[in-house]
Symmetry: C2
Subunit: 261 residues, 2 copies
C-alpha cells in the first residue's frame, strides 16, 4: 500500500521542503518509487527536484482548481529514475482564497490522489506532500489525504511555540475530516550541537514525542542549502556530506517504521 | 508624520519577526516612540516583546474582525519604555479565511490604524507590522496601510526565488489599493561571510536593489536566536553581541533615510 506522508509545519523556514525532497530522493536512490507533490506556491520543492515550474506549467493548481488528472501533470525528476514530481507554480498563490467558496474544498487533493492511486499511481511506494508555511486550505487538503504527517522541527526557540497549534490542527482534521491521520515522524533539522539552545529544544521535543522523533538529527550543512541552486537534492549533489548521510539514515528509519506499522 | 513600515516576505524563516522586533527595539532604545503590530498567528513578535498572547487575549484579531479600537489592545513592552505592541494570538489563525467574505476585507487594518493615528497614536514615530509567511489577506492588509515595505532576505538560494513574486504583489497593491507603498528597505539576514552561497546571494540582491539594500548585513548570531526564549529582543538581551550591533546600525540607517525621504 502506498504511504502518503504530508510534511507540514506552519512555522516558516524549518526545513519542510529540504526534508521532503531529500527523504524522497534517499528512498528513490534505494529503489523505491516516490512522488513529491509540491503544494507551496513558492515552488521550492520543484526547484530542488530540477523540474520546470514557471507560471502556466501544468501543476497542482490545475489539479485542485480545474480537476485535471494528477497523472497528466506529474513529471520525472532528471536525477533519479524512480523519483517523480507534481510541481507547484506561482499560479497557486491565490488558491487559499480561490478554494474558500469551492465545492468539497478540503477534499480536492484527496479526490485527485484517490483517482491517481487507483490508476497510473498504483505502484508508488511513497508520496510526500510539501506544504506551505500556513494552516490554510492548501495544508488542510494535504492533511485530509495523508495517512501520516512528518513534522520537521528546527532546533530554535520559536519552533516550540507553534507545535501545540499544529498538533491541535491535526487532531481537528482527525476528528472531522480524516480519521487515519497521525503524526508518524518528527525530524529535528539544522541541529548545531555546539549551542545550548539547539540541545535544549531537541531534548524538549524528544521528551514530548519519544516515539515519533527520529534518533538522527540533521546537522546544519552548507551542502544542503547550496544543492537547490544546482536544481538538485543533497543526495545527488554530495552524497557523502553530513546532511546527505543524515537524510539517508532518516529515510531508512522511515522505511523500517512502515514495515512494522 | 508616523512612518508605517510593513515587514514582509512570503518565504518562511527569513527573519521577518527578528528584524521587526530588533529594529523597533533599537529605535525605541534611542528614544523613538515605536509600536509593533504582530499580524502573524504564531505570535512570535509578541513573544520576543515579552507580552501575553494566549488565546482570548485582546489582539489584532479583535481589531480586524470585531472592529475593536487599536488603542484598547495595545500594551507596553516591559523592557523599553517607549516600545509598545499590538499582540497576535492563535485566534488569528482562521483570519485569512474569515476575512474573505467580510466588507472592506483589504482595508480592515487601514481603517483601524487611521483611527488610532488620529487619536491616541498621533505621537508615534514608527509603526512596524510583522507579517506571516504568506501573501494572503493578513499580509495584504498590512500592505494597504503601509507607507513603506521592509523586506528581510535570508542569504540562501530559495530567498531569491520568491523575490519576484513579492515585488509583483507590492506593485499590484500600489496600482489598485495603496499608491503610497514602496520598498524602502532591504535587510540581508543570517549572513555567513564564510560561504560562497551567502556572498553570491548578497551580491545578487545588492546589484538588483542598490538603493534599498542596507549596507550592514545581520550576521548569524546565537544571541539573536536565544533572546526570544527570555521574552526579550537581542537589543535588551545582549546589546554588545554582533547581532545587536548590526540591528542598531540598521535602525540608525533607517532613521536617517526617513529624514531625507
Ligand atoms: N540541514 C541544513 N543545513 C543548512 N541549511 C539548511 C538545512 N536545512 C534547510 N536549510 C536551509 O534553510 C532554509 C529553510 O529551509 P526550507 O526552505 O527547506 O524550509 P521550509 O520549512 O520549507 O520553508 P518555508 O516555510 O518557506 O516553506 C533553506 O534556505 C534551506 O536551504
Ligand atoms: N541573525 C540571526 N542569527 C541567528 N538566528 C537568527 C537570526 N535571525 C533570525 N534567526 C533565527 O532564525 C529563525 C527564523 O527567524 P524569524 O522567525 O525571525 O523569521 P520569520 O521570517 O519571522 O519566520 P516566519 O516566516 O515563520 O514568520 C528564528 O528561530 C530566529 O531566532
Ligand atoms: Mg518550503
Ligand atoms: Mg515571523
Amino acid at each position: 500500500e502506498t504511504r502518503v506522508i504530508t510534511v507540514a509545519n506552519q512555522k516558516g523556514g524549518v526545513g519542510k521542503t529540504t526534508t521532503s525532497v531529500n527523504v524522497a530522493a534517499a528512498l528513490a536512490a534505494k529503489g523505491a518509487r516516490v512522488l513529491v507533490i509540491d503544494s507551496d506556491p513558492q515552488g521550492n520543492a520543484s526547484t530542488a527536484l530540477g523540474v520546470t515550474h514557471t507560471s502556466g506549467t501544468p501543476s497542482i493548481y490545475e489539479v485542485m482548481l480545474d480537476g485535471k488528472r494528477m497523472a497528466e501533470v506529474m513529471v520525472p525528476c532528471p536525477h533519479l529514475p524512480s523519483l517523480f514530481c507534481v510541481p507547484a507554480t506561482i499560479d497557486l498563490a491565490g488558491a487559499d482564497i480561490e478554494l474558500v467558496n469551492v465545492m468539497r474544498r478540503e477534499f480536492r487533493l484527496q479526490d485527485a490522489l484517490t483517482e491517481f492511486l487507483a490508476n497510473e499511481g498504483h505502484d508508488f511506494h511513497y508520496i510526500f506532500i510539501d506544504c506551505p508555511p500556513s494552516l490554510g486550505l492548501l495544508t488542510l487538503n494535504a492533511m485530509v489525504v495523508a495517512g501520516e504527517v512528518l513534522i520537521p522541527i528546527q532546533c530554535e526557540y520559536y519552533a516550540l511555540e507553534g507545535l501545540t497549534q499544529l498538533i491541535r490542527t491535526i487532531d481537528m482534521v482527525k476528528r472531522h475530516l480524516n480519521p487515519r491521520i497521525h503524526v508518524s515522524t518528527i525530524v529535528l533539522t539544522m541541529y548545531d550541537g555546539r549551542t545550548n539552545l539547539a540541545r535544549d529544544v531537541a531534548d524538549e521535543v524528544r521528551s514530548h514525542f519519544p516515539e515519533e522523533t527520529i534518533d538522527i538529527s540533521v546537522p546544519r550543512s552548507i551542502r544542503v542549502s547550496e544543492a537547490p541552486s544546482y536544481g538538485q537534492t543533497v543526495i545527488t549533489h554530495d552524497a557523502h556530506s553530513s546532511g546527505a548521510v543524515a537524510y539517508l539514515g532518516i529515510a531508512k528509519e522511515i522505511a523500517e517504521r512502515g514495515r512494522t506499522g
